[in-house]
């Protein structure tokens, strides 16, 4: 068969294989391998045989993946061309030793395939011929060698990763060697069809294979596998090996049930604690074992059956009971009735220990009952228990006790069986332990009341609620009726004689129907019904089987309930209890229905049970005992009186009667219950069985169930309202919350609950109840691992909290603290609630209608936020953000409130101060930054628009009515508004800055920032700042921080500084430091005297005088202000300067020397003269008096004199004196003053004549020449005899009164003086001019 190899493909393969060899990187190598494999598998056997060595060659590659690939190729070639096995097997054996685990594993994996195929081929060949060719034989022998090699790996300890696959190999071999019960028994008719190989195809006489030998080997290997898991060996295994072995074993057990019996003991004896390997890893193996057992449990093969129980036990121990049930249930479904018998036996087995445990507990009904009583006791929180015992009629006490004991047995059975059925579902957590504890305490009777109380007071209401709920399933169904004044009944609103007295019958009936529709009870009753012979099934179905019994007609429902009980009791073969039922029920209108047959025939023992019932019925009727008739009468009576008459007087008698009646029968009942499981009980119990009616069992749809549950819940809620006075609300609200959250149609119920809470938040203890509900929901949301319920619960939580919060906000006055309290104590605050809070604090975002109230609401919101920040650190940041947002709110009222909170309450908190500061600074800077960027672009525009608007204004004035101008002005307004939009308006700036200012008062160093931004701020912002400063600075006062800022103000902030200083000095004496700082600032940096103005009143006079020239140099208005300051001084120190000093100081200024324009000085003078009430006549006189002594005379002296006369004409005499002194000072020497002198003389004529006449004649002549107007009056004056006589001749000559003897000399002098005069005239002109200008100004 040496064919001619296709040269092309051969070449190709060769090149491929060599390129694999020489390829450099791993990726391309593998790619080439893939290619090679693909091509190789196309080739036929002949070609391949030549090529094999080349592939073996590939294996010498240093990289693991390539070697692995080579192995894979070999394996696939082998599977395809089994004839190569003798060559390939040795190769695979060597590969097993490969250093790289992955390669070795690949070898094992290939071997399995190869082994299976070889075995299959040999087996089938052998079927058809007695001889096999030698090739196959050698193949097989090689395969066996390979197998042995892998075996050795599998069972040799510590061979790591490869061992896992090797073990799998062992499993595969075992499976191959053993017959598959589910496989096809016949080999496929022709070779190559893909039916799974089954060893049973082999028959005797196969040349190579012997079924017996093979199965012996398989079982040997299995033993080896099992040995691995036995005690000493298992210790040395790694977890992964254990897991693989367990999985393999369970797979074998499942696929080859014959081995079930050998594998399971090992698995079962595998002790979980022994899994502690390397100290840690138990879970993996533990879990694998659990799964293995579970899958074994599902095995339906008969040989598996005996093991089931033990597996179940083991699984329960592993806490996988639920799963076990599920598995078992499946089995049952599969096995159907075949297994029924077994189940029954199981049931019996199970029941035995149960009754035993019950006996051992030694508790009677009292225990169970008082357990529940106990829990209701705590609701009442007093010693009702004690009272109740006393309240029981003494006559019946013993009998009831006796009775109780009997019932105990029966009920014990019921409840214990029931609890056993539930045990699987219900975890025995702390709640169950508590229930047990309560039970034990109550069993001790009254002496345990104290410790009960302590126990109760130590348990939280929530836990207590859980206990009550958990204990619900322990409630004996008959219990309510045996004990007529049970507190629990009252709580649950089931009728009791006490409550009957309290409530109108209609309510009673309602309550009864309620109790019958109450799902837990109903489901319990139902499940009990079917307990006896369906226990196992019951276990699996559990509570799902909820046949709620309900009837719209309350009376009927009541009857139905009664019959539920009876049936339940009957079903447990305890007819006695039906008697006991009666007294409690009291009203039982014997509806002549035959429903009792329909009730639970299927659950009873077929045939027997129904006949028994019929017996019971007929017997009772035949006997027509006093009791039953009594009761019938009574109940009929009662039924009629239900409408109006109180049945109270009838009831007690009946119940007492009943108990008396019952007491002698107790013994009988006892015995009957003992033998109740046998048919004889039918007879013995007959007399006590009353006419029975079974309730119509109505299967409700899901919707109806929902409705019923909801209705029940609503009733509970309503009933709670009515008994609120009774106290114990804690437990009740816990129960309500529990029900509201746990019942399935939860959303609706929560709505009901919400409505209940909100309908009267205060009186219904809304806060407590809400919190309970919230905590439940929260717990659910956190607890559930299921995405669905987790998210839903979280959502429900949010809805609930939000709804309550919204209602609290809307319906309560803002001063109410409920909302704050709720939010403070709720377990978690979702985003939506925080949003709500945000809206509350920053109104106007969404709702505008509530503006009127917003003020108070804001306060409410803010105080809530504050308390949240204090109480809930995790959401502090979010809450702070809310408060901060509110602090920059556009409404000032809101803003101020928030700022007060932030600055006064929050800012002092260390942890958040930084954050607040940053936010405030950001807001502050935002104003400036927007401004700065806008301004650079918009400056030109702004000024333009200003011009425009001015223009428009004027045009407006001109033609105010014209529509055109209106349009234009509108345009302008638009441009104005757009402009204000770009740079923040004053209110906007205030909005952003207020918070910062508020913080400044708390931390003065922050104030510096304002100085820094001031320079670059826009006009509006500056305005806003100026508005704030007075308040701010006044609040701050002078601190070292502020001083520091003042001492070095950034450039551009002068105006701000001024305002600050003004504010600082207003009304108070500035501190020496401040004055010092300001002076220093003036001396060093800021030469502007203005900054000194505020402190001028506090400076010493001489310093002020030094500064005077600077002050005079100020703009007039400011100088006037300075003047006032100086003259008024501060309230404390009095005036700094007297008015006279001021005027003198002004006159002391020499314009040239001090560098101050003369105009400024004259203005200053004028300013003084304007204030005549200060610069009075006396002041002026004093000033002039002093000034006149100055040498030289002040420049403005004469000007002032003139002004003085103008202002105070009465001063004229004084002035004359001055003038004459001037004469003596030779005033004419100073041409400027001389002009003024003459002017003054002219002004003050005729008084000035005497002064003029004092002038030396030449000066007089000069004067008269200059002011001609003087001459005539003066001459007239001088002509008077007395004066003329006193005048010297020269004088007279000048006046022209004497003969002109000296005219020449006069002319001479006059000539001599002409130069002077001409000069002085010029000067006068100058003074004149200046005067004019000054007057003009």
């Amino acid at each position: 068969m040496v064919g001619i190899m296709n040269p092309v493909s051969r070449e190709k393969l060769e090149s491929l294989s060599s390129s694999v060899k020489f390829a450099i990187d791993l990726g391309s190598k593998l790619e080439l391998c893939r290619q090679l494999k693909h091509d190789l598998l196309e080739e036929d056997a002949a070609d391949l045989s030549e090529f094999l060595p080349r592939i073996f060659d590939l294996y010498s590659d240093p990289s693991g993946p390539v070697r692995k690939f080579a192995t894979e190729i070999i394996g696939e070639i082998g599977v395809k061309h089994l004839e190569f096995v003798p060559e390939l097997a040795p190769f695979l054996i060597t590969v097993l030793e490969d250093a790289t685990p992955a390669v070795a594993r690949q070898s094992v994996a290939c071997s399995i395939d190869l082994f299976r195929h070889t075995l299959e081929k040999i087996a089938i060949r052998g079927l058809y011929s007695s001889e096999l060719d030698s090739d196959l034989e050698s193949s097989w022998s090689w395969m066996l060698k390979l197998k042995e090699k892998i075996y050795s790996i599998a069972f040799q300890p510590g061979s790591g990763g490869i061992r896992l696959v090797a073990l799998k190999f062992v499993e595969a071999v075992i499976l191959l060697y053993t017959p598959n019960p589910n496989g096809s028994l016949e080999p496929p008719p022709n070779e190559g069809t893909s039916i799974e190989f089954n060893i049973t195809w082999l028959r005797g006489g196969h040349p190579l294979l012997n079924v017996g030998d093979l199965s012996i080997e398989a079982s040997q290997r299995l033993v080896l596998l099992l040995d691995q898991l036995r005690f000493p060996a298992v210790k040395s295994l790694t977890t992964s090996v254990i897991v693989v072995i367990i999985n393999s074993l369970s797979a074998i057990a499942k696929k080859r049930p014959a081995y079930y019996g050998r594998i399971l003991p090992v698995l079962l004896s595998l002790d979980p604690p022994s899994f502690v390997i390397k100290g840690v890893h138990v879970y993996g193996a533990h879990h694998a074992l659990k799964n293995a057992l579970l899958s074994c449990l599902k095995c339906t093969h008969p040989s598996a059956a005996p093991w089931r129980e033990r597996i179940l036990g083991a699984l329960k121990e592993m806490k996988a009971g639920g799963l076990a049930d599920l598995a078992l249930n499946q089995v049952h479904k599969i096995n159907g009735s075949v297994e029924e018998e077994k189940d029954d036996s199981l049931l019996i087995k199970e029941e035995k220990p149960l009754t035993k445990t019950y006996d051992a507990a030694g508790s009677n009904v009292g225990r169970k009952r008082s357990g529940t009583e106990g829990s209701s006791d705590l609701a009442e929180k007093d010693e009702v228990a004690g009272k109740r015992v006393k309240a029981t009629p003494s006559a019946s006490e013993e009998s009831t006790k006796e009775l109780n004991r009997n019932i105990t047995v029966s009920q014990g059975d019921i409840s214990s069986t029931q609890s056993s059925t539930r045990k699987v579902d219900v975890d025995t957590g702390p709640v169950q332990q508590l229930v047990g504890m309560f039970g034990a305490l109550v069993a001790q009777g009254e002496k345990a009341v104290g410790s009960l109380g302590i126990l109760i007071s130590n348990i939280s209401a929530d836990l207590l609620a859980e206990v009550v709920m958990a204990n619900m399933c322990n409630l004996p169904p008959t219990h309510p009726h045996t004990d007529t004044d049970d507190e629990l009944l009252e709580d649950m609103c089931i009728v009791g004689s006490d409550t009957q007295a309290k409530y109108p019958p209609s309510f009673l009936a309602d309550v009864i129907s309620l109790s019958s529709t109450f799902p837990p009870i109903a489901s319990m009753l139902n499940s009990q019904q079917s307990v006896p012979n369906k226990i196992v099934i019951q276990k699996t179905e559990g509570e799902e089987e909820v046949d709620v019994v309900a009837d719209p007609n309350s009376a009927l429902a009541y009857a139905g309930m009664a019959h539920e009980d009876e049936n339940a009791l009957l079903a447990t073969d305890l007819p006695v209890s039906s008697n006991i039922v009666l007294p409690g029920m009291k009203i039982d209108p014997p509806t002549p229905s035959d429903i009792h047959d329909t009730g639970n025939l299927e659950s009873g023992i077929p045939g027997l049970d129904s006949s028994f019932r019929n017996d019971g019925l007929s017997d009772t009727q035949a006997a027509s005992s006093l009791v039953s008739t009594d009761i019938e009468d009574a109940s009929q009576e009662q039924a009629t009186s239900f409408g109006g008459k109180s049945p109270l007087h009838v009831l007690p008698s009946i119940s007492i009667d009943r108990s008396e009646e019952l007491s002698p029968k107790a013994a009988v009942t006892d015995s009957s219950s003992m033998v109740s499981s046998t048919a004889t009980s039918v007879v013995s119990s007959c007399p006590f069985v009353l006419p029975k009616m079974s309730a119509p069992v109505v299967n409700l749809s899901e919707d109806q169930k929902d409705d019923v549950q909801k209705l029940a819940f609503v009733r509970i809620v309503e009933a709670y309202k009515q008994i609120a006075v009774a106290g114990g609300s804690q437990v009740r609200s816990s129960l309500l919350a529990y029900l509201g959250v746990e019942l399935p149609s939860e959303l609706e119920l929560q709505k009901v609950l919400r409505e209940h809470i909100l309908s009267d938040y205060i009186n219904h203890e809304g806060h407590e109840l809400t919190l309970r509900v919230l905590y439940r929901l929260f717990g659910k949301a956190e607890d559930e691992s299921d995405f669905l319920s987790c998210t839903t619960a979280a959502s429900a939580y949010e809805t609930f909290l939000l709804a309550v919060a919204e209602t609290l906000r809307d319906s309560f006055p803002p001063s109410d603290k409920s909302l704050s309290k709720l939010l403070g104590e709720a377990p978690r605050l979702p985003k939506s609630v925080l949003n709500l809070l945000g809206c509350l604090c920053s109104p106007g975002i969404s709702e505008k209608a509530e503006e009127s109230q917003s003020g108070d609401r804001v306060t409410q919101g803010l105080s809530t936020v504050w308390s949240l920040i204090l109480l809930r650190p995790p959401i502090r940041d979010v809450c702070l953000k809310i408060a901060l947002q509110s602090a920059v709110h556009h409404l000032e009222e809101v803003r101020m409130k928030a700022i007060r909170l932030v600055a006064n309450k929050l800012y002092p908190l260390q942890s958040i101060a930084q954050q607040i500061e940053e936010f405030a600074r950001e807001m502050l800077l935002s104003v400036v930054n927007v401004d700065a960027t806008e301004r650079t672009g918009a400056e030109g525009l702004i000024s333009e628009s200003h011009k425009d608007s001015d223009l428009e204004k004027s045009s407006n004035e001109h033609q105010s009515m014209s529509s055109i101008s209106k349009d234009i002005s509108a345009d302008v307004h638009q441009s104005d508004t757009s402009h204000s939009g770009s740079s923040p308006s004053v209110p906007e700036a205030q909005r952003c800055m207020s918070l910062y200012f508020a913080l400044c008062t708390k931390k003065h160093s922050l104030f510096g920032q304002i100085f820094i931004i001031y320079g670059s701020a826009s006009k509006e912002v500056k305005q806003a700042i100026h508005r704030h400063i007075p308040i701010l600075v006044r609040t701050m006062g002078l601190s070292s921080d502020l001083l520091e800022i003042i001492s070095d103000p950034p450039s551009g902030s002068e105006n701000l500084l001024m305002q600050v200083l003004q504010t600082l000095t207003e009304g108070t004496v500035p501190s020496a430091e401040l004055i010092f700082t300001i002076k220093k600032l003036f001396d060093s940096k800021l030469k502007d005297v203005e900054i000194l103005v505020p402190v001028l009143p506090f400076l010493p006079g001489d310093e002020v005088l030094l500064l005077f020239p600077h002050l005079v140099n100020l703009p007039l208005d400011k100088f006037q202000a300075v003047l006032t300051r100086l003259l008024q001084g501060s309230a404390h120190s009095g005036p700094v300067l007297t008015p006279a000093e001021v005027l003198i100081a002004i006159h002391g200024i020499v314009p040239e020397r001090d560098g101050i324009p003369l105009k400024k000085v004259t203005d200053a003078c004028n300013a003084c003269f304007e204030q005549r009430h200060i610069f009075t006549q006396q002041v002026l006189a004093k000033v002039l008096n002093q000034l006149v002594e100055r040498i030289p005379l002040p420049l403005l002296f004469m000007r002032t004199v003139l002004q003085a006369i103008g202002a105070f004409p009465a001063l004229v005499e004084f002035i004359m004196e001055i003038l004459s002194r001037l004469v003596s000072k030779q005033i004419w020497q100073n041409p400027k003053l001389w002009v003024g002198f003459l002017k003054c003389a002219l002004l003050t004529k005729p008084q000035s004549f005497s002064v003029l006449l004092q002038l030396p004649p030449p000066q007089l002549e000069n004067a008269l020449n200059r002011t001609a107007a003087l001459k005539a009056p003066l001459v007239a004056h001088a002509s008077q005899q007395n004066i003329r006589n006193s005048l010297p001749r020269s004088m007279l000559a000048v006046l022209g009164l004497a003969p002109d003897t000296q005219s020449s000399s006069q002319a001479q002098t006059s000539q001599a003086h002409t130069g002077d005069t001409s000069n002085s005239e010029k000067d006068a002109a100058v003074t004149e001019k200046s005067k004019e200008s000054s007057s003009a100004s």
């Binding site: 790289t100 685990p101 992955a102 594993r105 094992v108 994996a109 399995i112 395939d113 790591g160 990763g161 490869i162 896992l164 696959v165 799998k168 190999f169 595969a172 790694t238 977890t239 992964s240 897991v243 693989v244 999985n247 797979a251 390997i277 390397k278 840690v280 890893h281 879970y283 993996g284 879990h287 694998a288 799964n291 899958s295 399935p744 149609s745 939860e746 959303l747 949301a781 559930e784 691992s785 299921d786 995405f787 669905l788 319920s789 987790c790 998210t791 839903t792 619960a793 979280a794 959502s795 429900a796 949010e798 979702p830 985003k831 939506s832």
Partner: protein, 193 residues
């Protein structure tokens, strides 16, 4: 990356997708699956979940829910989650139907129930390749926050597994060191393809 990873949870929405998304970003060869019968997303109440078939594109669910009640689904984080998912892959895939996707080396589950289902499914397949697969269960609560944490932990574990030559030899050590580091219980099993 030498191993192929699969992330499995029940609906292939939250936990598996969170991990898928994260590992994908880190360059892992990763797929994700759900083992449930349907894809269930929370609805207005527990009784009314939104149920989709596997294979329904995330985009479709996203649009559907956004149409139904954008407020609710945004609030409970479903819409953001779907948005994330649709950026990772087209639609949720079911584990039990993934035979065509080839063999995985490491399978992560995030819930014991899912772990069991994956193992059972693997055991029920024909184990012919005898290629071992490591199935690890990392218990993660099914909510958004925990899923994010779980994904990070899974990534950490993947990186450790990636770092060794063959996990078969060192898995126990990896698990021990992991448990010591994260204080989280791991469950693992080995199965074969």
């Amino acid at each position: 990356m030498k191993f192929r990873y699969a992330m499995v949870c029940s609906s292939n929405q939250n936990r598996s997708m969170e991990a898928h998304s994260l590992l994908k970003k880190q360059g892992f060869d990763v797929s994700s699956y759900g083992t449930g019968a349907h894809v269930k997303l929370p609805g207005p109440s527990l009784r009314e979940p939104n149920v989709y078939e596997f294979g329904t594109p995330y985009k479709h669910m996203f649009d559907d829910l956004r149409r139904k009640d954008p407020e609710l689904y945004k609030r409970n984080g479903i819409l953001p989650m779907l948005k994330r998912n649709l950026s990772v892959k087209l639609a949720p895939q079911r584990w039990q139907d993934n035979a065509a996707d080839g063999c995985f080396d490491i399978v992560f589950t995030f819930e014991e129930k899912v772990f069991d289902m994956v193992l059972e499914d693997l055991h029920n397949r024909d184990q012919v390749l005898l290629k071992s697969v490591l199935v690890i269960n990392l218990e993660v609560k099914d909510n958004h926050e925990e899923a994010a944490i779980g994904a990070r932990i899974a990534l950490d574990l993947c990186e450790q597994i990636e770092a060794v030559e063959s996990w078969e030899d060192s898995i126990d050590d990896i698990m021990v060191s992991f448990e010591n580091k994260h204080r989280r219980k791991l469950l693992y099993s080995i199965s074969f393809y």
